[in-house]
Symmetry: C2
Subunit: 243 residues, 2 copies
């Protein structure tokens, strides 16, 4: 394995404490995944329209996260202080903490929106929320893109293991996140490369999209599991690989 995760004696303690031990250098980097899924396991951007490009399913999946103070600050650049500050926001803040590099599929970058425009910089805006090197898996190679705030998009055609080596080197000892989409995440899960899987489950049934869970029987073996519910009704489940 490329990574080591938490001391099993500490798993289950409060998040703040886990992060403290990271700061103290007791724990080396992890490969992390965080996804919003439905109760039936789907994430999707199906059903988009010009007015609602991500689709109503996506809006329902992410409503509790989008409402958080952290999302509003980091993604929408809303510094008014508005937004929820409960359990969902704690996970939202954790999302951005301790990550030194990101890996994503071509779809998450937004390649498919303007496939023939060499100047298209993805749909993450002029100041993307990642603020770290981002490795975009694509057979369509092009020059890296530097954007304000610290995000650099690199385009690579590689296996999950190969791109993870590049991202780990770029992360400088911090964690690497496999950001999405679901198909990309599933490749890393099935290859056994993920040390921490956090799903935020909206209690809705979508019945369409890409299912996260297929062919992952007994994934939980060897992981500690933390379950928690938020004020919004969202269920947070985290699988942590002990070191």
């Amino acid at each position: 394995m490329l990574t080591r995760s938490y001391d099993p004696r500490k798993v289950g303690l409060a998040l703040q404490y886990v992060q403290l031990t990271i700061t103290e250098g007791e724990i080396s980097m992890s490969v992390r995944v965080d996804l919003n899924i439905s109760l039936d396991g789907y994430a999707t951007t199906e059903g988009g329209t010009p007015d609602n490009p991500m689709g109503e399913d996506w809006n329902k999946l992410t409503a509790a996260y989008v409402a958080t103070k952290t999302f509003r600050e980091w993604v929408l650049h809303d510094t008014s202080g508005n937004g929820t500050t409960g359990v969902d926001d704690r996970y939202g803040a954790e999302y951005f903490e301790g990550v030194g590099a990101e890996i994503m599929g071509a779809g998450m970058f937004g390649f498919h929106t303007f496939p023939d425009d060499p100047d298209w910089k993805g749909w993450w805006g002029e100041e993307p929320p990642f603020r770290v090197p981002v490795f975009v898996l694509s057979h369509r190679l092009r020059d890296s893109i530097d954007l304000p705030g610290g995000t650099t998009f690199h385009f690579v055609s590689a296996t999950p293991r190969e791109v993870l080596e590049r991202a780990t080197a770029a992360a400088g000892g911090k964690d690497v996140r496999v950001g999405g989409g679901v198909s990309t995440v599933r490749e890393f899960l099935k290859a056994g490369l993920v040390d921490q899987l956090h799903v935020a489950i909206a209690p809705i049934l979508l019945g369409r999209g890409i299912n996260l869970w297929g062919e992952l029987r007994a994934f939980e073996v060897g992981f500690a599991v933390r379950t928690e519910t938020a004020e919004s009704g969202t269920v947070h489940i985290t699988f942590l690989r002990p070191s």
Copy 2:
């Protein structure tokens, strides 16, 4: 609809209070479902062996429930007082409260174990835990069976709506539970006949069995949802149809 469920003003209040209002007669009967499922939506008794007839998957699915004080008392007739008394036990106690009749599929009764033995009384033992009239859906009709403790098994060949009418009449104003298995429950869910769906989700991935969630897109619309986590890591999600 045959049924009415909770006053929407009361949804989300503590379970004890909801049950109090039932006792006071403010709320009429509900059709209830309670199932143990995996994170990927499966319930199953696949993989059984002579030594372990329900299979290891079933044992993992139900481990937290089987450990409760209520299960030990009601199902195993263990009056020692042993067993867990936390959130899982509270749901376990709720399972048996306020139910006046039960509906189950032939498989849950145990028809398939000794299909040709007219004296076979199912695998629920000499004193089954239901203690109410139980309507077993089967094309194999036979005489009703009275057992100690108040359980009577009736065998009926009928549609979900027809058997629900019979069970409702037998329940005397109390709730009717559709007990299982998953295929039977899915028929009632898809027909819109269920007022309260409670799933106890074990944070494990089975990847095989019968999936509860297929073809139930947007089931949650029109239901209030309550999510809660237990000390065991089990996630309890309840969909309640407001009256």
